[in-house]
Symmetry: C3
Subunit: 260 residues, 3 copies
Amino acid sequence: MPRVVTLTTDFGSGSGYVAELKGRLLHATTPFTLVDISHDVPPHDIRAAAWLVGQGCAAFPSGTLHIVVVDPGVGTDRGLLWARLGTLKSHQEFLCPDNGVLTLALDRPLIAARRLDVPSAAAATFHGRDVLAPLAVRLLDGLNPETLGEPLHDVGRLHWPSHQETPTGIHGEVIHIDAFGNLVTNLPASFMPRLAATGRLRVGTHEITTIVRTYGEAAQGTAVALVGSQGLIEAAVVEGRADERFNARIGTPVGIHAPA
Amino acid sequence: MPRVVTLTTDFGSGSGYVAELKGRLLHATTPFTLVDISHDVPPHDIRAAAWLVGQGCAAFPSGTLHIVVVDPGVGTDRGLLWARLGTLKSHQEFLCPDNGVLTLALDRPLIAARRLDVPSAAAATFHGRDVLAPLAVRLLDGLNPETLGEPLHDVGRLHWPSHQETPTGIHGEVIHIDAFGNLVTNLPASFMPRLAATGRLRVGTHEITTIVRTYGEAAQGTAVALVGSQGLIEAAVVEGRADERFNARIGTPVGIHAPA
Amino acid sequence: MPRVVTLTTDFGSGSGYVAELKGRLLHATTPFTLVDISHDVPPHDIRAAAWLVGQGCAAFPSGTLHIVVVDPGVGTDRGLLWARLGTLKSHQEFLCPDNGVLTLALDRPLIAARRLDVPSAAAATFHGRDVLAPLAVRLLDGLNPETLGEPLHDVGRLHWPSHQETPTGIHGEVIHIDAFGNLVTNLPASFMPRLAATGRLRVGTHEITTIVRTYGEAAQGTAVALVGSQGLIEAAVVEGRADERFNARIGTPVGIHAPA
C-alpha cells in the first residue's frame, strides 16, 4: 500500500473545511491513501480527540501520518508540532496543535518532535489548511521532518483520570461512551478477578451484577459488565444503551467494592 | 483500478472502532481501494444491514470484497463466513457474521462459502478487527479463500416480508425509508399498471392519488407514488418527507386495491 | 497522485444511493482517488450545495472532477451538464444538474460546457447513478469531453445575496453556518477597517462589540467578530455557538453602522 494519511477533526462531516483540507493535501505528487478517522469530534473537545487518536493510531501501518485538527487555540501562541512516536521499527507520525491531543498516543515513546513555524500568510483561523496540509504535502513528497523547525523535547499532555485503590475498593470513572451507548471505564482488564469475586460493578448509583465475556451471552436488555476491545472494563446493556439506562456520561464514577 | 474493499458497520461514523478496523486492513501489501458504505447502520439492526448490502453490492466491480460487521452475536457461537456470490464472470465477495446480513445479496447464486475459524487471541467483542480484518489482509495479499475453513453449503437468511395478492388487492409494506423520507415498498414496478388503473396507493390509513414518473412532475408538497431507482414502488412527498406526512415506519402496510 | 474525483450529494451519509454511485464509478479502468465532500447537503438544498462547491472546489488539484448531485428536478427537463472552470493551467471539472449548484464556482471563468444526453434506459429518479457515473467512468478512461453533447454557452446560476452600502451603513446577511455554529456573512474582509472604526457588528437584533483576529483571543463564551478562513466577516462565540446565542439562521441580517 502507499503511505497512509489520516484525518481527525471537529470540522463536521461534510463541511467545506474538510473539503479544503483534503483538496490541499491532494496536491502531493507522491500517491498516498487518505483515511478519515473522524470529523465529528465534539467541537473544541481536545479530550475526545485524545481518546480517538489513542484508540485508533496504533492499528495503522508503521509510517502512517496522522493529522489531528481539534484546535480551539488556533492562531494564538499555542504551538503546532510534528512528532514521531513508537519505535524505529513501528512508529506513527503526527501533525497537530501542541494542546494535548497526543496525550494517550504518548503511551508510546516520543522518538522526535519539532515545533512548526507558522507562515505569516496563514489564515489566523485555519492552520489545518494553511500550515499543516502544506507541510504534509512536503513530507509526503520527501521532506526530512528534522528540518521542520526547532526540536521539541516534550509535548503537551492533558491530565487524564486514573483509577484509585482504597480500603473500600477500586474507584474509576467512565472515560468514553461509544456509538452503542457502552460505557468504557478506566479500570483495566486486570481487575476482572476482583470484579468476578465481588460480582458487582458500580456505575453511578447503580450496580451491575451480570459479568460476561461478550455481549451476546446474556438476554436482550440485561445490564452486563465485561472486558471491551480496548482491554478496559466496560458496562453495557445487551442490544440496548447503557448510557441511557444508567444516566451516565463521561466522568460518571464506577467502582468495584473491596471483598467483604 | 486496484481491488475494492467496502465496509458496512454499525460502529458509528467517526468511532475509534472504525479507525482500528481500517488501520488493520491497511497492513495489506497489495494496494486496494477502501470504500465506506456506512458505519451508521442502526445498532444491532441486521435487517437494515441486509437492505444496504443488497442495494449497494451489485453496483461494485466484480471481485469487490465487502466486509460487513453488524454483529450483536459477536463472540457467541454464531459463525463468521467468507462467501462469493454471483457468477464466475461477475461476482462479489463477503466477510461477515453468518447472521442474515447477506439475505438480499443472496438473490445472486452462492458460488462458494467457508466458515471462518476464530483464533483464541481474538477479543470476544471485536471479531471485525481481530478476525475479519486480518483475513481480508491475507486475501488481498493472495490467500486462496478455499483454504479459509470448512465449506459452508448454506448461509443464514432473515425472513423477508413479501407482498401478497388477495381478492381485495395487493398487500405489501414499507421496507426502507431513505434520507429524503421516501418510503420504499416491497411492491415491484410490475404492479404499476395495476396502480395506474386504480389510481391510488394506500399507505397505512392514507391514500396517495398522484402517480408520477419522477419527483419533479408534481408541485412541491404533493404526495406521489412512483417507481424508485431500486425498481420498487415508492411513496414520496415532493421536496418533503413522506415518512412524516404519513407517520410511516418500516413495516407500515401499503396496498393497491383490486379493481372495482 | 492519480486524478481526483469528488462527490457532493444530498443522499445521506451511509445511504445505499451513495454506495451505488461509488460502485458504478469504480468500474473505471484508470486508477483515481475518490473523495467524499458531503452526502449530507440538506435535502433538495441547491443553495447549500452551491456554497459547499464554491468553498471546496478551488482547493483541489487542477483536473479534479467534481460530481454534484443535489437534484430535486431529476428526470424533468432540467439539463445535466459537464463544465470546465478556471484557467488552462488550473481548472476544475464538474458533472452536475444545470440547476445553480455551480453558482459560486462560477467565480472562475467558464472554459467549456456541454449539455449531457440522457439515455432512455436511465431511471427517472437517479441520474447520478445512471447518467453521471457512467460518463465519469468514460471521462476517467480518456473520453474527450468535447464529444459529450451540445456545447452550452451559459450555465444556470442562483440569485446570490450581495451586501449593500447605504447612508446608514453596510447591510449584509448570514450566508452560511458552520459546524461550530459560526455565522459566515457576505461582508468581505475589506470592511474590517469600517468594523474596527465603529466597533460593533450587528447580527439580527444583537450587537457584537469584541473584534478579534482569531477565536482564542477572547475569553470562552465571548461573542466575537473576525475575518474567517473564507475571507468573509464572521460572528462567533468562543468555544460556543453563535447560531444559538443570536438565534440566527441563513438570511439573518447583519450590518456595520455608518460612522457617527
